[in-house]
Symmetry: C2
Subunit: 184 residues, 2 copies
DNA sequence: CCGAATTATGCAATAAATTGCATAGCCACA
DNA sequence: TGTGGCTATGCAATTTATTGCATAATTCGG
């Protein structure tokens, strides 16, 4: 159960509402994680029941009221313990790879188009994360310890993304050649 | 529902039993996918019920009997249709990234050890996949179309892995420096 | 003959994630 | 006044994945 710990991690420094968490996820953890608001609200209830979070209603003007969530001492402890524990490497499990195993003369242009689409999506993400890196992580050696960890995760994501872009380019060229020889 | 399509993909050329599928998954799709035998057997039943697979008991000598599964015409069609359809990019969702967001003086050596462990695991996988690449995909331009797709997936996985190894090395150095300055 | 390893298949309970639906406050614009 | 968009929270149903358990045939070494 890692989503719960991702949520607690996001709450380490700031208290947040479910809605804010959903957004924060896309921004700060977006290269690694996406969670729907439904999932987040459900998890927030569970964590509150366990005593790892506490909630507080906040009245807002100009917007509907919200409920902010804050890490408790027990939550902090549980999180630290989880960090210490074992974890397993996760596979990509992306449909794209399975689809490529089905490459044929029929679908080659379709799959090429899909790679183009993925490339564009990744470009957008990278643009965002590269901006974050330059703004807030430009001098990694002088960051406080926790930010150093975030930095490492960030560059892992950025490099993975750049690597993917490069693969897309080469794959598209390769597929174009394959398409030509097939129809020649 | 991609596992079902991954299974059908594995059955494109060979008929296989659930047990064999579980193994084949680790070998041929291992960089992208892992599925437990329980999941695979369940999925095989579903696919057979849908008429996308047919099964046949096979008596073996020296081993317990098995039940092999074969793609039907309807299965082939459904698979081709799925390949044509939309798909979304999947995030990594690996605990390691979340853990790094929790880096502290307390856990820095623990997390370093975990990265060392990951590095080793990835080395093992890469060794296997690099061997496959050299043996069967050494001359990608002359492969038949379907094998070209597999080749692209394979090099995507290999590069991702190599990229990860490099990140591990740099991260470990960075963490070592951080640990020294923290205790200095 | 016994135990361990390998081959082979499966059920049940739980957890996690997706999809669809529902509600409601507030703002801006026409 | 109504419509659309953003903010905000949630339920319910279904699908997908994990974990633990259970069974059984066969081989091989001790």
């Amino acid at each position: 159960m890692a989503l719960s710990h991702a949520i607690m991690t996001a709450l380490l420094e700031d208290e947040m509402s479910g809605y804010e968490l959903a957004k924060a996820f896309d921004v700060t953890l977006g290269l690694f994680w996406h969670a729907s608001h439904q999932q987040i609200y459900k998890e927030l209830h569970k964590l509150t029941d366990k005593g790892w979070l506490e909630k507080e209603p906040v009245v807002q003007q100009g917007k509907p009221d919200k409920i902010v969530h804050r890490l408790t001492g027990a939550g902090r402890e549980a999180l630290a313990e989880w960090v210490w524990g074992e974890s397993r490497m996760q596979e990509a499990k992306d449909d794209l790879w399975v689809k490529l195993y089905n490459l044929s003369a029929d679908n080659i242009s379709r799959l090429s188009a899909e790679i183009v689409q993925r490339r564009e999506e990744m470009m957008g993400r990278l643009y965002l994360y590269e901006k974050i890196r330059r703004r807030h992580y430009d001098d990694p050696e002088s960051l406080p310890i926790r930010r150093k960890g975030i930095y490492l995760a960030l560059i892992a994501g950025i490099r993975q993304g750049e690597n993917f872009l490069q693969w897309c380019d080469e794959a598209l060229e390769f597929l174009a050649r394959a398409e030509n020889t097939a129809t020649a």
